[in-house]
């Protein structure tokens, strides 16, 4: 039954391609420009066509469910699960993002497997390799660590399987470590820094002494450098940069260096539980009484976990639920998420949901799971809906051009509900924040 359906689709696709080719030649246009190109021949590549020949397709998901980023990983997983549920049922919200969706993707039910990456590249790669080999995954996804994202980028390119990146803040993910088979929806170091720097200078003034706390891997180093570069022109200087390992059990010695550094502003790039612990300990050491705290890459659940320490703190984020006043799709998403999980979604869930919905959109538009065709559909740079307004993917580096949300922690007395942690300071359009496509050395690699 499924095989027959597939053959019928192949026949139609070839008929359309032939018609498009003939029509285009008669008008002097190349077939590529005239209509979506349906390759006459889609030779086996990656898990194509074996992975999409049945009535369902398989997605491999790897998120940290243990370790420093476990909380964020669970939030991210909920976003994936909701997206899959909505896609399989043909939910109204998915149809607004992917209008051609009926039920499933190209009529095929989505099935998925979940692995705990523990934010470790090796664990993630091994798990996803299993999903590819044993389950013939047509797409792999997940993240919450840029080290994992970069590793999965490489796996995706090698295995010719699409990787729709989860949370990853490093410039490298769509910069020097970009790949043809990888796509990223969420904001990252460069855009975070470019968006928040003017707000910080306006708020705190020029010529400030700054202390940084940096986790010792690609995410930390690129975000710290991006913020340093973005504020250098206004005379902000780095007096100390405290680099710590991921999952450091104690930050006391780093905080003493900061306390004795003469800094006026503390920019904390740590993420996950490292951010929670370092901010709590900064309070214990009196550092937060001496200097202003800034979190350039906001951590989901940070406000909940730090018990009021984010009040008055500026941060950049991918999503905060109160933007629903401006974006109707965000309102729908918030309502659906809260109905299922009993809390307001944070940006891990938002990124998971929307990047998944965008993938469904692209496959439906491509009319095939054949990876090179899906990639080329992304690369058209078509403007598509998201939870934060219209966005598009940049063909040169596969980075989504999307706004960055600047928030400021609300004071207790101003909170209108238990999850009303932030004021939206500004929603900064993405296009002006991005570096030039070749600035971070992206070379995408081959389609086949």
């Amino acid at each position: 039954m499924t095989a027959n359906r597939h053959s019928r689709r192949d026949f139609l696709r070839q008929a359309v391609a032939t018609g498009a080719g003939v029509g285009a030649l008669s008008t002097g246009l190349t077939p590529f420009m005239a209509m979506p190109v349906w390759a006459k021949d889609e030779p086996p590549i990656g898990t194509w066509p074996a992975g999409s020949q049945g009535g369902s397709v398989f997605i491999g998901i790897s998120v940290p469910r243990t370790g420093t980023y476990a909380v964020q990983g669970e939030d991210e997983l909920k976003g994936y699960q909701l997206a899959i549920e909505h896609i399989n049922s043909g939910h109204e919200l998915i149809k607004k993002i992917s209008p051609k969706t009926t039920k499933g993707v190209l009529g095929k039910e989505l099935k998925f497997g979940v692995a705990d990456s523990a934010a470790k590249p090796n664990d993630a790669v091994q798990a996803q390799q299993r999903f590819i080999t044993e389950n013939k995954a047509v797409m792999i996804t997940g993240g919450t660590s840029s080290a994992v994202a970069v590793a999965l980028n490489k796996l995706a390119q090698r295995e010719k399987i699409l990787f729709v990146c989860g949370i990853s803040g490093s410039n490298d993910t769509t910069g020097k470590d970009c790949v043809r088979y990888g796509f990223r929806q969420n904001f990252f170091g460069q855009t975070a820094a470019a968006a928040i720097a003017p707000v910080l200078v306006k708020q705190f003034g020029k010529n400030k002494k700054v202390a940084y706390m940096t986790p010792d891997y690609t995410y930390g180093h690129t975000v710290t450098k991006a913020v340093q570069d973005a504020t250098k022109g206004d005379g902000w200087t780095t007096v100390t940069n405290q680099v710590s390992p991921l999952g450091a059990p104690d930050f006391s010695s780093y905080l003493l260096n900061i306390a004795n550094s003469g800094a006026e502003i503390l920019i904390n790039v740590n993420w996950g539980h490292d951010a929670v612990l370092s901010i709590q300990q900064a309070k214990q050491f009196g550092v937060l009484d001496k200097m202003k705290l800034v979190v350039p890459y906001q951590v989901p659940f940070l406000a909940r976990e730090t018990g009021g320490l984010m009040q008055g703190v500026y941060a950049a984020t991918d999503y905060w639920w109160t933007i629903e006043d401006k974006y109707p799709l965000a309102k729908m998403f918030n309502a659906e998420f809260e109905k299922k999980y009993n809390y307001k979604p944070e940006w891990g869930a938002e990124n998971a949901y929307i990047s998944f919905a965008h993938w469904a959109h692209m496959v439906e538009e491509a009319g095939t799971f054949y990876p090179p065709t899906v990639i080329k559909t992304y690369e058209k740079g078509e403007t598509i809906p998201s939870l934060v307004g219209d966005v598009h993917y940049r063909p040169e580096d596969h980075q989504c051009i999307r706004p960055v949300i600047i928030v400021k922690g609300k004071m207790q007395k101003d909170m209108k509900g238990k999850e009303d942690y932030y004021d939206i300071v500004e929603i900064v359009p993405g296009a002006g924040l991005m570096q030039k496509p070749d600035a971070f050395g992206c070379k995408l690699g081959d389609y086949t």
């Binding site: 909380v71 390992p245 059990p249 010695s253 004795n260 018990g307």
Partner: protein, 291 residues
């Protein structure tokens, strides 16, 4: 930039950090030093003690009761664990002991995660010890200063029990020749059970005492387990005074190195351990043959 103020701050911080590490390592070294079991569940027991204390604190609002609750809960867990599982592994190879305690640690962590989720929990210090104290060269959290005293008392009590009581004497004799002790009419396995319980209690106690310093997550024991192993190796596996010396050395290495280059703080810790393993495999205060 080097300043004397920062140097003295870091030296003091190394002392406080080292005291905490010594306390956490003590339970590990008690169990290994007396029973010969290398307990990979020590980090999980440390974590579980913290959570047990958190539950008591949440219910009563008393930090003192939380400390007592965390320690006693782990005493009971330790005794049950020894009776049901560990006892069957005393005469099995070390590899089996490592595997079974590793398995127990996974179960403990995931049970706690199931109940409390991964969201961190906070236990504030008692009001008298909250806030910051000026040390002249720097300001330092009052609770951390108090922890140095708490740790000193706790370690002395443990030392007294294990090395200055009849119980301690039986335990040490039992380790040397359990059949001989048995033939004297002493139930040596009952004593082992008590010792394992005391080791677990020490882990639980340090877990809840450490809770106001670090917020609790189910994974809090994992990172600390690695450090405690380093401490025990430096000080001497199974040596109680070695755990104290190793803790202080580790604390100072982390603090002083971070002043020079923070990225190398933990690397230097492992470099020091490597050096000790090469030059003195049984540790600084360890007994030859126990490496």
């Amino acid at each position: 930039m080097f300043t004397w103020a920062n140097f003295f701050s870091q030296v003091f911080n190394g002392l406080a950090l080292g005291a905490l590490l010594a306390l956490i390592s003590s339970g590990l070294t008690i169990i290994y030093g007396t029973l010969g079991v290398l307990n990979l569940a020590h980090g999980a027991m440390f974590m579980m003690g913290g959570y047990a204390g958190y539950v008591v604190y949440d219910a009563t609002g008393s930090f003192t009761l939380a400390v007592a609750g965390g320690a006693l809960f782990m005493l009971v867990v330790g005794v049950v664990m020894e009776r049901l599982i560990i006892r069957h592994f005393y005469h099995r190879p070390h590899e089996d002991q490592l595997l079974v305690t590793f398995g127990i640690s996974i179960v403990m962590v995931e049970v706690v995660r199931l109940i409390f989720t991964s969201l961190s929990k906070t236990v504030p210090p008692p009001p008298l010890l909250a806030g910051i104290t000026s040390l002249g060269v720097t300001f330092y959290p009052t609770y951390r200063i108090a922890v140095v005293g708490i740790v000193a008392v706790a370690l002395l009590v443990l030392y007294f029990i294990l090395y200055r009581t009849k119980l301690g004497m039986i335990v040490r004799a039992g380790i040397e020749d359990s059949e001989m002790v048995d033939s004297l009419g002493i139930d040596v396995y009952r004593v082992f059970m008590i010792v394992f319980g005391i080791g677990a209690m020490a882990a639980g106690f340090s877990g809840i005492v450490n809770a106001p310093v670090v917020s609790l997550t189910p994974d809090v024991g994992e990172a600390i387990l690695v450090q405690t192993f380093v401490v025990v190796v430096i000080g001497g596996v199974g040596s109680f005074p070695g755990a104290v010396l190793g803790g202080l050395i580790a604390g100072e290495i982390i603090s002083i190195t971070s002043m020079i280059n923070p990225a190398y703080a933990y690397i230097m810790l492992f470099a020091a351990m490597t050096l000790v393993l090469v030059l003195r495999p049984y540790g600084l205060l360890g007994v030859r043959g126990r490496e």
